[in-house]
Symmetry: C2
Subunit: 341 residues, 2 copies
């Protein structure tokens, strides 16, 4: 009856007493120590089952200096890309026997800094960190004394493991796709002025490279600023573009949320997608396949990113090799209706 749970205080001592062995033997059984006679193992297992024993993880953590918890710090779960990323990270972690503590930074720089030194780091064996606001100037803050894996592009070349994607090439592919459809006046929305690093800057770089490779002149009026990559921002960018009267026949949203906001705003103004304006996004969130029209996008290999990140972190936690690694995930162009496919 007593069920399990933990509150109810059945410890290794109880199991040991019932099985007639020492506490340490129970510990050995639980931890799959190899040298145990089958009979003993069975006896102990029976006692465990009978009492509904569950390991006290706090005690184990105290003793081992490990919690079996990894942290995942990201901007916010209500952004679909990060929700899907979290989903993948949790699955990957579960497959490897650890659990995930999620912290939201709200894309606030101070909050991102805080997360690195929070008391909670003491509760996790390591951190997978996806910063949005930290820049090269904050590199020092990332020199932490616990295992850290950084996702994304904001800060290069520090002493930590890094999982990223080739933003430049991916953005170039997205832009090239628009060009292949015959578009020449391609707007980019969500740019971050003044940044030379980070996803925004790199993706704009890829955009420029594609234009250059096709001999299309760069029109600064087609590059629209947009701080937060939310749907609302995407809509505002379109409003801005239309407001300035600049001509455009395609929109490259630096992420899908921006592109979705753009779709929305274009639709509201009666501008046909893709006939009048083609739209492509970046991230390939689940939504992209269900909008009207469906949204072309760049699939960033989210699953791969999540798994690599967890693997790198666990390797770092386990100790061993010293070299910090950079993993670059694969991307793929996913053409859909919004670019006429």
């Amino acid at each position: 009856m007593s069920s399990s749970g933990g509150r109810g205080a059945v410890t290794m001592h109880d199991v040991a007493a019932l099985a007639g062995v020492s506490v340490k033997t129970v510990s050995n059984v639980v931890n799959d120590y190899p040298h145990i006679r089958p009979a003993t193992r069975e006896k102990v297992q029976k006692a465990i089952d009978e009492l509904g024993y569950r390991m006290n993880l706090s005690a184990r953590s105290l003793r081992q200096g490990r919690t079996g918890i990894i942290g995942l710090a990201l901007p916010e779960l209500s952004l679909p890309y990060f929700a899907e990323l979290a989903d993948s990270v949790i699955r990957a972690a579960e497959a490897r026997g650890v659990v995930v503590l999620i912290e939201q930074t709200g894309a606030d720089r101070q909050h991102e800094l805080d997360v690195l030194t929070s008391d909670r780091r003491q509760l996790t064996d390591g951190l997978i960190f996806s910063p949005l606001e930290l820049g090269p100037d904050d590199a020092d803050a990332l020199k932490v004394d616990y295992p850290l894996v950084v996702l994304g592009e904001r800060i290069f070349g520090g002493d930590w493991d890094h999982v990223t994607m080739n933003n430049v090439d991916a953005a170039r592919a997205a832009t090239q796709h628009l060009i292949d459809q015959g578009r020449r006046r391609i707007a980019v929305i969500g740019a971050h002025a003044g940044e030379t690093m980070g996803s925004a800057a790199l993706r704009v770089l890829g955009y420029q490279a594609a234009l250059a490779a096709n001999g299309i002149p760069l029109d600064p009026d087609l590059i629209v600023e947009g701080g937060l990559w939310h749907r609302a921002t995407g809509a505002e960018c379109i409003d801005h573009l239309v407001g300035t009267g600049v001509e455009f026949d395609a929109v490259f949203g630096l992420n899908d949320a921006l592109a979705l906001g753009a779709l929305h705003a274009l639709h509201a103004r009666g501008i046909d997608v893709p006939d009048t304006v083609a739209v492509i996004g970046f991230d390939d969130i689940e939504d992209a396949a269900y909008t009207s029209p469906t949204l072309s996008s760049i699939s960033p290999g989210r699953e791969q990113i999540a798994q690599e990140a967890v693997d790198l972190l666990l390797a770092r936690i386990a100790g061993g090799d010293e070299a910090f690694r950079r993993v670059i995930a694969d991307f793929a162009l996913v053409p859909r209706e919004s670019t006429g496919s």
Copy 2:
């Protein structure tokens, strides 16, 4: 320089030694024990700062029997409703000084049962559980010996706290809204045959009530089954409806994902929304405001649900009152373009 972090082993003993007090005094300072001389407190604080001391939370947990972590079990984060719910729960928890461990059940019954008895329950002080597949027969499994707050409708009247919404009334309001727009052939998508409990059954009940109240006959052909409430299912439901040739001028998606899938499928078939077919969803996910056309929905008071759930759980963890409570969150109709607003 040594920064903080925790790996690096500075304990209360170190602080005590540096400050020239006992370990317990350090503990007292850290825990804001009232009777400490200001001079002592200052001395200790200085030592703490100097050494960059951080409390070892595993040790504290072991000693106190509490971890400061609460669990949140939900189907999957890639479903926008649950991502947004998780966002709200994490915020609410943070405001109250606890952190959240998320477990995904994948909407699998066995996985939902496992989560209740998992070793991880030992790591959390309590659980907020949003089951999708458990039914009344599983009520016994929910009789656990740790603090539990159940979200949603699947299982009523057990010995646990419950945060829910009035699904029947909300569904009735959604249906009534469609009727108010002059619709009479209203399809429902995502129904679960044979269930008498759970969101699906209750929302269908509200749908039926609205029809009855307006003297509209119930046509079973307009009630379309749909197990998983994903976008893909919503699209399939529309395909099914169209396939059977049954006439309809409105669709009530039992959640927004279904409704979004329906919008998609209707668009693909060239059926105009809302002129030919009006569509309403349920959950009011962020997406609903950005689709084309924007999606009318029922806002379930997600923020309120999250806060109440965390508050109930923390109250239960703190002990105290014995009576199990049921909180019913408010809902609101949010009319948008998809119903002609």
